[in-house]
Point group: C2
Chain length 185, copies 2
DNA sequence: AACAGTCTTTACTGATTGGTACAATTTGGA
DNA sequence: TCCAAATTGTACCAATCAGTAAAGACTGTT
């Protein structure tokens, strides 16, 4: 009765999508077993810590993705304007023009915030820091750069909320281009 | 064993705070009975529709509050600059400088979004419309005014997410004053 | 003081929750 | 080919879930 099809790393994106759709509390084990195709036995084999460990793993993978695709390019690129532009596009794609939620943002508003407080904090802090680096290389002083970066991350999260509330992906894209211009101008 | 202490309207603010802290799914009836001091019997007496009706009532009350304190002043004031300034302050107070969540925004990101879609939609649509009215009276054309209003509501919701994620009320206040200046300038 | 209506308590339902235990099975390596 | 480790299915647990039912107690009116 064992098939060894799945690896832990294959399951995590599925878990991520489940948590995005149902939230942490709403993602019941029955939903998870159904969507992953894995029984409780397998699930608890891969994640002995249960749901909490699954969510941790998902948050870690999200953090790795952003570190590689967004934060590092912003920090290390020699062409900051290009880096800002291309990471903005990557973010728009990642969130599927506002049709996809930011799991970290959703967790921040949820009552599970405290449980994952440090990972949530790190995610946004790293984002603001990386963007601030790029802006400083673009000529802004440290204070102005951090202010602008803060404003940009706020705009992204806000646009995700409003776009979903109004079921209006165009609004998200509009907000992203507006932000992109404001950063590079 | 009946005391007739509570009225339906007295319970709603308590329910609102519970939903804010626990979310819709997280607000179990046991939490609700405990915090309201009302047994299930009383709860189902006031809200025959159960939790869903409680949430509806809360959303309606929130909408009424914003209509009276925010939307109407923005729409009807003869001094739009003053109206924008004072409603910005009212919003900052309402959200307790980012320490308090926007329940509607949280619902928008939650999987209960579809269940309350129309009320969530109306809440933000009314906000943007009202703010756009005030901005037009300030001299902006319709398109520019709506764009600015959109941007402002996005900034508020985003600031709520980030302020809570970073546990940083100062960030929320900073975002609000920045926005206030940007609207009136 | 009796009444009807409002409110509350209590006990209960069946379903579902997250989690555990463990045997059965498959797998890769020697 | 055989064995230990990895993987999985199933049955089970106590706790909690939202919701129901109905009898009791309080209220104002007459």
């Amino acid at each position: 009765m064992a098939k060894t099809i799945a690896e832990r790393s294959d399951i995590i994106p599925v878990l991520a999508e489940i948590f995005r759709e149902h939230g942490f509390e709403g993602a019941s084990l029955s939903v998870i077993t159904e969507r992953t195709g894995l029984g409780k036995g397998s699930l608890y084999h891969f994640f002995p810590g249960g749901k909490a460990e699954m969510a941790q793993a998902v948050l870690t993978e999200i953090d790795n993705w952003f570190e590689e695709k967004i934060y590092r390019p912003l920090r290390e690129s020699e062409n900051p304007a290009f880096a800002i532009r291309s990471t903005c596009r990557a973010v728009t794609d990642y969130f599927n023009s506002g049709r996809r939620i930011c799991l970290v943002g959703a967790f921040a508003l949820d009552n599970v915030r405290d449980r994952f407080a440090s990972q949530i904090n790190d995610y946004f802090a790293a984002w603001i820091t990386a963007l601030s680096h790029a802006l400083q290389k673009l000529g802004h002083n440290a204070e102005a750069a951090t202010g602008l970066a803060e404003e940009a991350v706020i705009a992204i999260q806000g646009a995700l909320v409003i776009a979903r509330a109004l079921d209006n992906p165009a609004l998200f894209e509009r907000a992203m281009t507006r932000m992109e211009k404001q950063l590079i101008a």
